[in-house]
C-alpha cells in the first residue's frame, strides 16, 4: 500500500502547565504521525495527557516545545459534552453545519440524519438541560460529525453510553469514517473499543505523558466487540497498561 | 485669548432670536413678555421669530451664549459678571436691567439682632451668588466672620432654596438670605425678616436680573436687540399698570414651564418686595462685584483682564435710544 498523506504529526512535543518552577508536565517528547484515512485509538491512564494532546492537535493550545503539524480541517469532540445551553439539540448541530458551509436548505435533512444516527430523532427540540448525560454526549457526537472535517479527534466520545448504544455507534462511526475517508484519533478507556475501532492503538504512559507502546490492529472489518481476537488484544493492552502503571505506583505512593 | 470675529459686515442671516430666561419670579418681565407675545410681535415687525428657551441654571446660559446657541438671556448679575470676566470682556454685554430688590435675611424666632446670629447657621441659595455675597458682606460689616467652607462666626451653608426651607423647618438652620418668593415662603413657615436687602442700598434698589446679550449679536443685529427691548419695556409697562394681571400672567407662564405655580398669596407678597425696571443699576452691580472680590468669590485679576467694571460690560445705547423715544430719562 502506498503511504498516504501525513495528516497529523507531533514532533518531540512537550507541554507543561503552570509557572516554570512548579510546572505540571502533561506531555514530554511525544512523537506521533497519523496518515490520511487512519483510525488511531489512544488509551492510557487517567491524567496521562490524552486530552492535552488532542487540544494541541486541534490548535486550542500551543506546545511548550516541539512542533505540531496539522494538515486539514480538524473537528474535536470534547471529553465533556459542551453543548450550548441556549440552543436545542437541533440548533446545536445546525450551528456546526452552518460553520461547515452546508447550505441552509440542506441543513434540516442533515440534522435529521445525524440525530437518527445517534438515535435522538425524537429529541431534536429539547434543550441540553432536558437531556440525560448520555443523550448530551450523543448530540455532541452528532455535532462533531456535522463539522465535515477530514480529521476528527474524539475524546472518550462514548464514555457515558450503554453497551447497546455503543455497539450501534461503533458501526455508524466506522461506516462514516470509511465512506468519507476520515482520519480519526479516538481516545477511550475501553480497551476492547480501542481494538474494535482502531487501525492502530497507541498506549500512553503517565507522569510525564508519553507514548509507551503502539500496536497495529490488522483484524479484518467488520469486527465485533466480543470476538476473541479483540478480547485477547484488549487483555494484552490492559496488561501493558497495568505494567506501566505498576512501575509508577511502586515509585509513587 | 479671546478672539471675537467682530466684523459687522459679515453679519450672518438670522431668522430667529434665541432668548433665554428662567422660570423664576425675578425674571417676571421676560415671562410676561413671552406669555403675552410682546417679543413675538416686535420681532415679527422685522421678520424674525422668537425661540424662547427656559433654563434652570445660570452656567448653562453662559455656556450657551459662549457657544453661539443663544443670543440674549435674562440672567442674574453674578453669572453675567462671570461671563464677562471669563471671556475677558469679549463675549457679552448687558443691554438692560429687569428687576431689582426682593431679597432679605429671614431668621427664626428669637433672633432679633445681628449679634444674635453668632454661632448660628444660615443658608444662601448658592456659593458665590448675589445673595451669598450680600450675606457674607453684610455679616462682615456686622463684625461677624464667615468663610467659604461654612466656618466662622456664622456658618453659611449654601443650598438650594427648597432644601433650605426643609432644613429650616427641621430646625437645622436658623435663617436664610434668599430672594423672592422664598422670603415670603420662609415668612409663611414662621420666619421673620431681620434685614431687607433693599434697605442696604441707596434708593432701596439693587439689581437682581439683567438682560445679557452676545456682543456679536448686538453688533450684527442691533434691530433684533431693539425689538427685544421693546417687548421688555412693554412688559414693564404692563407690570406697572396692571400688577394683578401681570402676576396672573407670571403664574400662567410658570405653570406652562414647570407644571407648578406659586401660591397667589405668596406671589402677591413677594411682588411687593420687587421693583421691575429697565435701569440696570450698574452702580449696585459694581458694588456687589467688589463685595464678591472682597469675600474671595471673584478674582480681581480676571476683572482687570476684562477691562474692569463696569468697563465694557454695559451696552445701553439701544435701550437709551428707546427710552428717549418714549421721553424717559436715559440710564447708565
Amino acid at each position: 500500500m502506498k503511504q498516504a498523506e501525513l495528516m497529523l504529526r507531533a514532533d518531540n512535543v512537550s507541554k507543561s502547565f503552570g509557572p516554570e518552577g512548579a510546572a505540571t508536565v502533561a506531555l514530554s517528547g511525544v512523537d506521533m504521525s497519523i496518515r490520511a484515512g487512519e483510525f488511531v485509538t489512544i488509551v492510557g491512564a487517567s491524567g496521562c495527557g490524552k486530552s492535552t494532546l488532542l487540544n494541541l492537535f486541534a490548535g486550542l493550545d500551543k506546545p511548550s516545545s516541539g512542533t505540531i503539524e496539522v494538515n486539514g480541517k480538524v473537528a474535536l469532540m470534547f471529553q465533556e459534552a459542551t453543548l450550548l445551553p441556549w440552543l436545542t439539540a437541533r440548533k446545536n448541530i445546525e450551528l456546526a453545519l452552518n460553520y461547515a458551509g452546508v447550505a441552509r436548505s440542506d441543513r434540516d435533512a442533515r440534522v435529521a440524519e445525524l440525530l437518527d444516527i445517534v438515535r435522538l430523532g425524537d429529541w431534536a427540540d429539547k434543550r441540553p438541560h432536558e437531556l440525560s448525560g448520555g443523550m448530551r454526549q450523543r448530540v455532541a457526537l452528532a455535532r462533531c460529525l456535522a463539522q465535515g472535517a477530514r480529521i476528527v479527534l474524539m475524546d472518550e466520545p462514548l464514555g457515558a453510553l450503554d453497551a447497546m448504544t455503543r455497539d450501534h455507534l461503533h458501526d455508524e462511526i466506522e461506516s462514516i469514517v470509511k465512506a468519507q475517508g476520515l482520519t480519526v484519533v479516538f481516545v477511550t478507556h475501553n480497551m476492547r473499543e480501542a481494538v474494535r475501532l482502531g487501525d492502530r492503538v497507541i498506549l500512553m504512559g503517565s507522569r510525564p505523558g508519553r507514548v509507551v507502546y503502539e500496536q497495529s490492529v490488522p483484524l479484518k472489518r467488520p469486527r465485533t466487540m466480543d470476538s476473541n481476537d479483540i478480547a485477547s488484544r484488549a487483555a494484552d493492552l490492559t496488561n501493558r497498561l497495568k505494567a506501566e502503571q505498576g512501575i509508577l505506583e511502586g515509585a509513587d505512593s | 485669548a479671546a478672539t471675537p470675529e467682530a466684523a459687522p459686515s459679515a453679519a450672518p442671516e438670522i431668522t430667529t432670536v434665541r432668548l433665554g430666561y428662567f422660570p423664576n419670579l425675578t425674571h417676571a418681565p421676560g415671562l410676561i413678555a413671552t406669555q403675552k407675545g410682546f417679543f413675538k410681535s416686535e420681532l415679527k415687525a422685522i421678520n424674525l421669530t422668537l425661540t424662547p428657551t427656559a433654563f434652570n441654571a445660570g452656567p448653562d446660559v453662559v455656556t450657551a451664549l459662549f457657544a453661539d446657541s443663544l443670543d440674549c438671556s435674562y440672567i442674574g448679575p453674578n453669572p453675567a459678571i462671570n461671563a464677562y470676566a471669563q471671556s475677558e470682556g469679549a463675549a457679552v454685554r448687558i443691554v438692560s436691567g429687569s428687576t431689582s430688590g426682593g431679597a432679605a435675611l429671614v431668621v427664626r424666632d428669637g433672633v432679633n439682632t445681628a449679634a444674635d446670629l453668632k454661632g448660628l447657621t444660615i443658608a444662601t441659595p448658592q456659593l458665590g451668588n448675589t445673595q451669598d455675597v450680600a450675606a457674607r458682606n453684610w455679616l462682615s460689616e456686622q463684625g461677624l466672620a464667615t468663610d467659604v467652607e461654612g466656618g466662622g462666626d456664622v456658618s453659611i451653608k449654601p443650598q438650594s432654596n427648597s432644601d433650605g426651607l426643609a432644613a429650616f423647618s427641621a430646625g437645622e438652620i436658623d435663617g436664610a438670605w434668599v430672594p423672592e418668593p422664598w422670603v415670603s415662603s420662609y415668612v409663611a413657615a414662621g420666619a421673620h425678616v431681620l434685614q431687607n436687602e433693599a434697605d442696604l442700598w441707596d434708593g432701596g434698589q439693587f439689581v437682581t436680573t439683567v438682560i445679557l446679550c452676545r456682543t456679536d449679536f448686538i453688533d450684527q443685529h442691533p434691530d433684533a436687540v431693539t425689538a427685544l427691548l421693546k417687548g421688555h419695556l412693554a412688559a414693564l409697562d404692563l407690570i406697572a399698570s396692571d400688577p394683578e394681571g401681570s402676576q396672573a400672567a407670571v403664574n400662567l407662564a410658570l405653570a406652562g414651564l414647570t407644571g407648578s405655580s406659586i401660591d397667589p398669596k405668596v406671589l402677591a407678597s413677594a411682588w411687593k418686595n420687587m421693583t421691575f425696571t429697565a435701569d440696570p443699576l450698574s452702580a449696585t452691580l459694581v458694588t456687589s462685584a467688589e463685595h464678591a472680590v472682597s469675600v474671595g468669590l471673584l478674582e480681581q485679576d480676571k476683572i482687570d483682564a476684562a477691562g474692569g467694571l463696569p468697563g465694557t460690560l454695559y451696552s445701553l445705547d439701544l435701550l437709551n435710544a428707546l427710552l428717549a423715544e418714549r421721553g424717559e430719562a436715559a440710564v447708565n
Binding site: A75, F78, W86, Y99, Q147 | P59, T63, N161, S162, G256
Partner: protein, 273 residues
C-alpha cells in the same frame, strides 16, 4: 423522610398563584403607607415638609388627571427609550470592541469606568457646545451616562463566558464575528441583561438631570416636574413625582425581569422555584 407527589397541586394553579404573587406586594404597600400615615399623624415634621399619604395621593391623582402629566411621561419615556437604545448600541459596540481587542482594552478599559463616574452636569457645557440647546444635547448626556455602564456590563459578561464555549467555537470553526454572534454574546446574555438594568438606571438618572438642561415650554418632562416641585417646595407634588418615577422604574424592571427569567428558564438555570 417521605416525599410525596407534590406537583399534583399544580391544578389549582392560577388562583393560588395569583394570590401568592399578590399578597407580598399588598402587604408591603400597606406597611409603607401605614408607617407613613403614623409618622404624619405624630406631627414629627410640619405637614408642608412631610405631607401625609392622603394629601400626596391627592396630588398624585390631580397630577395624573392633567394632560400635561401624561405629556411629561411620554416625553421623558421617549427620551429615556431613545437614549437608552442609543447607549445600548454604542455601549455594546464599545464593550465588545474593548473586550475583544487587547490593546484597546489596555488603552481605554479603565476610561470606561472613569466616564461612568462622571456626574451628568459635568457634560452640560460640552453638550451645549457640540449640540446646542436641543434634544440631542439631552440625549448626549443620557448616552454618556448609560453607555459606559452598558459597555462595562458587556465586558464583564464576555469576560465571564466559560472558556469551554469559546474553545468550542474555535473548534467548530467559527470566524471572529460568528464566534461573537453565536457563542460569546449569547453566553454573556444573562450578565448582559442584568447589566442593562444598571444601564437603564444610569440612563434614567442622567435624563432626570439632562432634562434640566433645556426646558421647552410645550414639552413638559418628568425631570423638570420633579425639579420644579422641589424648587418650589411643593412637597406633595415632589413625592407624587417620586412615586411616578418609582412606578416607571418598577415597570421597566419587570420587563427586564421577564426577559431575564425567560433566558434562565431556557437554559435550565431556574430549575426549582
Amino acid at each position: 423522610m417521605t416525599i410525596n407527589n407534590a406537583s399534583r397541586t399544580q391544578t389549582t394553579f392560577s388562583a393560588r398563584n395569583a394570590w401568592a404573587w399578590t399578597w407580598p406586594k399588598l402587604f408591603a404597600i400597606a406597611l409603607v403607607l401605614g408607617g407613613w400615615e403614623l409618622l404624619f399623624l405624630s406631627e414629627w415634621r410640619p405637614s408642608y415638609v412631610l405631607p401625609g399619604p392622603i394629601e400626596t395621593f391627592d396630588a398624585l391623582f390631580k397630577m395624573a388627571g392633567t394632560e400635561r402629566f401624561w405629556l411629561a411621561v411620554k416625553t421623558t419615556m421617549t427620551r429615556a427609550g431613545t437614549g437608552f437604545i442609543l447607549a445600548l448600541v454604542l455601549g455594546s459596540i464599545v464593550g465588545i470592541a474593548v473586550a475583544r481587542i487587547k490593546p484597546l482594552r489596555l488603552a481605554v478599559g479603565n476610561v470606561i469606568t472613569g466616564l461612568q463616574v462622571m456626574p451628568s452636569i459635568a457634560w452640560f457645557p460640552l453638550a451645549i457646545l457640540v449640540f446646542g440647546l436641543n434634544e440631542q444635547a439631552i440625549l448626549f448626556v443620557v448616552v454618556l451616562g448609560a453607555g459606559p455602564s452598558i459597555a462595562n456590563g458587556v465586558i464583564a459578561g464576555i469576560d465571564h463566558v466559560p472558556p469551554a464555549f469559546t474553545r468550542l467555537g474555535r473548534v467548530l470553526g467559527a470566524g471572529p464575528i460568528a464566534l461573537y454572534r453565536d457563542i460569546v454574546l449569547p453566553a454573556a446574555l444573562p450578565t448582559y441583561v442584568a447589566g442593562l438594568v444598571q444601564g437603564w438606571s444610569f440612563a434614567w438618572r442622567s435624563l432626570m438631570a439632562g432634562e434640566l438642561l433645556v426646558i421647552i415650554a410645550e414639552t413638559p418632562s418628568l425631570g423638570t416636574t420633579l425639579d420644579f416641585a422641589r424648587q418650589m417646595s411643593k412637597v406633595p407634588e415632589l413625592i407624587a413625582t417620586m412615586i411616578v418615577i418609582l412606578l416607571i422604574g418598577m415597570l421597566v424592571d419587570s420587563v427586564f425581569g421577564t426577559i431575564s427569567r425567560k433566558i434562565r428558564r431556557d437554559r435550565g438555570l431556574a430549575i426549582d422555584d
